[in-house]
Amino acid sequence: MMTKSSRRWVAAAISALSLCTALAACSVGTKPGTTPAGKASPHKVSTPTQKVTISFASWVGDQPAMKKLYAGFHKQYPNITVTFNNIPADSEAQKLVTMVAGGTAPDVAYMDGGSVADFASKGALVNLDSYIAGSTVVKKDDYVANFTENAIYNGSMYGLPFDAETTGLFYRKDLFEQAGISGPPKTFAEMEADAKKLTNPAKKQYGIAIFGPESGYYVQPFVASAGGQLLSDDGKKAMIDSPESIRGASFYTGLAKYAPPAYLNSNSYDGRVAFEHGEAAMYIAGSWFGGSLIGEAPKIRDKWATAPLPQDKECATQVAGDSLVMFDQSKNKDAAWLWLQYLSSKESLRTWNVGQADSTELPPIKSLLTDPNSFKGKEWLKSFADMMSCKIITTNSPQWGQIQDRLNSNLTKVVYGKMTAEAAMQDTQKYATRLIGG
């Protein structure tokens, strides 16, 4: 399994057909306009006086913390009943697409942050700006800017971040000690030197795990740290072959010579055994990786630690997470908002992220992230929280999926020695320019 943003579960193909008579959608239709961003007038929502049922699609509906949150919600709003539509995580986007196409979309959903822009750009989601403006519970300014990145489309909030994570460095303290390295690398140069020192193919030990199929995803923080960008902020121009971007990509792909060859074609989920078995001394992944280590490899619990990603010009990372969204097809938008609002209160976010002992997610709001109590028992998460304000790559384009796919395959070729990093970035630039212009 890959990381959330780059993982797309391929469902039984979704060949979309619409029954003309039923949907009256045979016409070509009009291209969806873009909602201008701007100050939204507050929309005040009142408690419903009659019984209302809303549906909530997620893959976390059965978790005890969610049940607890619902119990509290129902107590506060006895007229609102939430039915939980639990969909397996890997199939959620596919099922939601089907439901939207069929006109049976749920009222609200908990979805991977990376999908929000996809649905929002096609008019499937409700613009939440006016709801947020009218709410006393949701405090827009408390959200960490980076974590709202995924939830914003065209300058408006279409989702409420519910949990978040950053990408950081996991390293084996025991292997570092053996090699005589005192601490985790802080710069590009240190990382390369450390990786080299830790690599001993005869003993099947390598410095760092690198995965070709996800190279287009994990290269991003290094491009950002080198001062590069992949797309312009407005997503209309590709900047993939700038010298800084190439520098970041060269560095990242250059690490492949210190990576276990057996895992070059694997991904950061399946490849976890490399770190667990000590074949790779360093591992770049999101905070979710800590959860795997704690659960599956208790024997090495005290042998690993976390650190922020090494920097070139400035600290950089990448963010992922899940957001709460409301569907435009909902017939009970006010009630749906009350549920979203309840889930987004500081207390709920604390229950969900901090309160669950085995959760590796970060709360998306500053008031919780700066509270040391939030990391009791999860001290290793602090390295991830520390990066919350670091630079990230923004990919505000509906074509980004295709561009990242091209970047993936090009960088894989670099990792396998079939292409230089420079050529890879230039080819991707050409491809991206063709798709988005500029």
């Binding site: 979704i14 969806p32 986007a93 096609k122 276990p260 999926g401 395959s409």
Partner: protein, 302 residues
């Protein structure tokens, strides 16, 4: 004379009518659920659609043009052909071998049959975990035994070597599917009248001759079935391979259906996905017709 002839004709007409009656449930369901879907896929392949919006501009042959110039797609077609040509004969041959061995009276027959069928029913998630153990370059079981037997002198990275990934996947696919071939052949073997073997033995035929002159020819209907369905299946293979190799390394194990999924679901390009599907169906249709022609679909046991 004329009355019995007209009776016979009436009987014949009635019997023909019953044939259509037998076919009607399937025909109705087919029309409602499949034909409709096919027609609209075809319709969509000439449009551009993101699924979620009703906006569906007509784009003519653009989708098809895009498909035909995509080099990654071309590689996928090659990969799929390689997979098909290599895995199907191996699967069918091993299935036949096992079926023959487990057809006669042999101790533990039922248990062996069940065990050989296990790969078919083992969840793909489980199979992939274990096969990744087996193929692991550093600690895998396969390398361990190959080195022990001195057949190789250093570890082979089965799943991360661009040239070895597909063979590795093919071996796993054969393992996965031979139980299915075994069942088909086990059933087909029961349709061969025993007295043919009797007579052959009387005529002095040995086992090999019985196999090649009686068994294999009379298994032709089963073989045709397996061939047609296996080709169709292997052209549509996706999860089996993707879960092992992510389609790599460097796209050397990507298959056509992966691109259909990716286009429809990751990139919201339903029109393009439909065009790919139409192309895939055309390819498969041609192969299937060729196979049926070759076997002459009316082939019956003689």
């Amino acid at each position: 004379m004329s009355r019995s002839r007209s009776n016979r004709l009436r009987h014949q007409a009635r019997r023909e009518w019953t044939a259509y009656a037998f076919l009607s449930p399937g025909l109705i369901l087919f029309t409602v659920f499949t034909l409709f879907a096919l027609a609209f896929s075809f319709y969509l392949s000439f449009h551009s659609w993101s699924i979620i919006e009703p906006y569906k501009p007509f784009v003519g042959f653009q989708n098809y043009r895009d498909a035909l110039v995509d080099p990654d797609l071309g590689q996928a077609v090659i990969n799929t052909a390689y997979f098909t040509v290599a895995s199907i004969p191996l699967t069918m041959a091993s299935g036949l071998l096992i079926a023959l061995m487990l057809n006669g009276r042999i101790w533990g027959r039922s248990i062996f049959r069940a065990i050989f069928y296990l790969p078919v029913i083992t969840p793909i998630v489980v199979s992939s975990i274990v096969w990744k153990f087996i193929y692991n370059g550093d600690y895998g079981i396969l390398n361990y035994y190959l080195e022990r037997l001195r057949l190789i002198d250093h570890s082979i990275n089965w799943l991360s070597d661009p040239n070895l990934a597909m063979p590795a996947v093919i071996i796993m696919a054969v393992w996965n599917n031979l139980g299915f071939a075994m069942v088909i052949y086990l059933a087909g073997l029961q349709a061969i009248p025993q007295h043919y073997y009797e007579a052959a033995r009387v005529d002095g035929a040995n086992s090999w001759q019985q196999l090649t002159r009686i068994t294999i020819p009379l298994l032709a209907p089963s073989t045709l079935f397996l061939l047609v369905t296996s080709v169709i299946g292997s052209f549509q293979v996706f999860t089996q391979i993707f879960i092992m190799t992510n389609g790599g390394p460097i796209g050397r194990t990507n298959t056509i259906v992966y691109f259909i999924y990716q286009a429809a679901f990751q990139f919201f390009k339903m029109g393009y996905a439909s065009a790919l599907s139409v192309l895939l169906m055309l390819m498969l249709g041609v192969f299937t017709v060729l196979q049926l022609r070759f076997y002459r679909i009316d082939y019956g046991a003689n």
